[in-house]
C-alpha cells in the first residue's frame, strides 16, 4: 500500500497548499478516513489564530446542536420505519401459522370425539338389532370404510426423491421430477383395489368409494386432509395381495420411476394392521325420519342408507 510519494503523504496537516493527492482513492480512504476538511480547518485556525469569537461562536454551536438533533431524529425515524416494516410481515405469518395449528388441533379433537360417539352409536345399534342383522351391518360398514378394520395386508411406501441441491447456492431445486403426484397415489390405490384389497388407507386416511386424492398447491389431500411424503398406502386383503399387486402396471411403473428418479418404492407385507374408519359421509339430501314409522323405508321415499351427493 505504498503511494507514489512516500515522503509526502497526503496529510494536509503539514502544508495546506502543497497537498499531494494520492492517485488511489481507496488507499487514501483507508489511510485517512476522517474528512480532510477538519484538518484543513485546524490548519487554518493555526495560521490565523483561534476561532472567531463574538456572536458567531454561539451561533455555530447552536447550528451544531440543531444538526445533531436532526441526526437523532433521523435515527429514530429510520429505526421506527425499519421496525414497522419487518414485523408486520412476520407477525402476520406467525398469526396465520398459529391459526392453522389451532384449527388443526380442534379438528383432531372433534374427530376423536366423533369417533367415540360413532362407536357408542354402533354399540347401541348392535344391542337394538338382532344378531344376524348386526353382523350384516358391520360387514357392510367394514366394506364401505365406515368402520375400523384390522387384518393382514401389505404396505406400499412411496416417497419423493431427494430434491437436487444446487452445489453453488445450496438452494433446493423446486422443480423435481421425482415427486409423488396425486395421480401416483390414485394409481396405487386403484391397483390395490384391483388386486383384491378390501380396505385401503393412505397415511392413516381410510379410503371409501367417495374419497378424493388430489393436489392442492404443493400438497396432496386425501379427503381434504393433507398428507406428506413418505406416503404409506396400507391395504388389507387376501394373502397373495402383495404378489398380485407386484404384477400390476402401477407397480412396474413405480419400480421404473424409482430406478430412474430415485423415488422410494417399497412393498412389504404387514400382519395385523388396523385401518381407521373413514369420516362418515355427510348426508346432503337425505334427512333422518322424525316420525315413528313401522318400517325403515315405508313412508320415506328418500333413500337414507346411501350417501348421496358424490362429493364426500
Amino acid at each position: 500500500m505504498s503511494t507514489a510519494n512516500p515522503p509526502n503523504p497526503p496529510n494536509p496537516d503539514g502544508d495546506g497548499r502543497r497537498r499531494v493527492f494520492a492517485p488511489d482513492f481507496l488507499t487514501e480512504l483507508f489511510r485517512n478516513p476522517l474528512d480532510p476538511a477538519y484538518a484543513d480547518a485546524a490548519a487554518r485556525r493555526r495560521e490565523r489564530g483561534p476561532a472567531p469569537g463574538g456572536w458567531r461562536a454561539p451561533l455555530t454551536r447552536a447550528i451544531t446542536a440543531v444538526t445533531l438533533a436532526a441526526i437523532g431524529l433521523l435515527f429514530v425515524v429510520a429505526y421506527r420505519h425499519a421496525l414497522a416494516d419487518e414485523p408486520s410481515r412476520s407477525q402476520a405469518r406467525a398469526g396465520l401459522v398459529t391459526q392453522i395449528n389451532d384449527r388443526r388441533t380442534s379438528t383432531e379433537r372433534l374427530r376423536s370425539q366423533a369417533d367415540g360417539l360413532r362407536e357408542d352409536v354402533a354399540r347401541l345399534r348392535d344391542a337394538a338389532l338382532d344378531q344376524t342383522e348386526a353382523t350384516r351391518l358391520r360387514e357392510m360398514e367394514a366394506a364401505t370404510g365406515l368402520a375400523k378394520v384390522h387384518g393382514d395386508g401389505v404396505v406400499v411406501r412411496l416417497g419423493d426423491a431427494p430434491t437436487a441441491v444446487d452445489a453453488v447456492t445450496g438452494q433446493r431445486n423446486g422443480e423435481s421430477l421425482g415427486r409423488v403426484l396425486d395421480r401416483d397415489l390414485q394409481d396405487v390405490a386403484n391397483a390395490l383395489w384391483a388386486s383384491g384389497a378390501e380396505a385401503i388407507s393412505i397415511n392413516g386416511q381410510r379410503l371409501t368409494s367417495t374419497s378424493t386424492v388430489r393436489t392442492a398447491g404443493g400438497a396432496i389431500l386425501v379427503d381434504f386432509q393433507p398428507v406428506t411424503s413418505p406416503y404409506d398406502v396400507t391395504a388389507i386383503g387376501p394373502d397373495d395381495l402383495g404378489g398380485r399387486f407386484a404384477g400390476t402396471d402401477a407397480a412396474r411403473l413405480f419400480r421404473a420411476l424409482a430406478g430412474q428418479y430415485g423415488m422410494t418404492f417399497q412393498l412389504r407385507d404387514a400382519n395385523n394392521v388396523t385401518l381407521p374408519a373413514a369420516i362418515a359421509p355427510q348426508l346432503r339430501y337425505a334427512a333422518p325420519a322424525t316420525s315413528e314409522t313401522p318400517g325403515p323405508n315405508a313412508s320415506q321415499p328418500t333413500p337414507s342408507t346411501t350417501p348421496s351427493g358424490g362429493g364426500r
Binding site: L26, L29, F30, N32, P33, L34, D35, A37, Y38, A39, A41, A42, R45, A51, T60, R61, I63, T64, A65, V66, T67, L68, A69, A70, I71, G72, L73, L74, F75, V76, V77, A78, R80, H81
Partner: protein, 110 residues
C-alpha cells in the same frame, strides 16, 4: 456535552412526535442514516483529535446526506437500482470503520 444533549433531544422528539416518512423519501432513509453515522463518527474522532470544528461538522453532514440522496436518485433514474447506493455504503462504511478504529485508539490506547 451540548452535542450529546442535542442528540438525545432529537431522539426524544422523534419518539414523542412519531413522524411518518413520505413514501417518496423512503428510499433515501437508509442511505441518509449511513451518511449521518459517518458525520457523527467523523465529528467524534475530530473532537478526540482536538480538531473539531462546528462549521465543518454541519457542512459534512449536510453534504453527505445530499450527495448520498443524489446518488440514490441518480441510480433510480438510470435504472441501475441499488448498485450506485452500494458505492455510497462502501465508501461511508469504510470511513465509519476507520473513524471508529481511531476513536477506539483514543479511548483505550489500543
Amino acid at each position: 456535552m451540548i452535542a450529546v444533549l442535542a442528540l438525545i433531544a432529537g431522539v426524544a422528539v422523534g419518539i414523542w412526535w412519531e413522524p411518518t416518512v413520505p413514501l417518496a423519501l423512503q428510499p433515501y432513509l437508509p442511505i441518509a442514516v449511513v451518511a449521518a453515522l459517518d458525520a457523527v463518527f467523523g465529528g467524534i474522532r475530530a473532537r478526540l483529535d482536538g480538531i473539531f470544528d462546528d462549521k465543518q461538522f454541519v457542512i459534512s453532514f449536510i453534504s453527505n446526506v445530499l450527495v448520498a440522496a443524489l446518488i440514490v436518485y441518480l441510480g433510480d433514474q438510470l435504472g441501475v437500482g441499488g448498485q450506485l447506493s452500494t458505492g455510497v455504503v462502501v465508501v461511508l462504511g469504510v470511513r465509519i470503520f476507520g473513524n471508529v478504529a481511531a476513536i477506539r485508539r483514543h479511548m483505550f490506547r489500543a
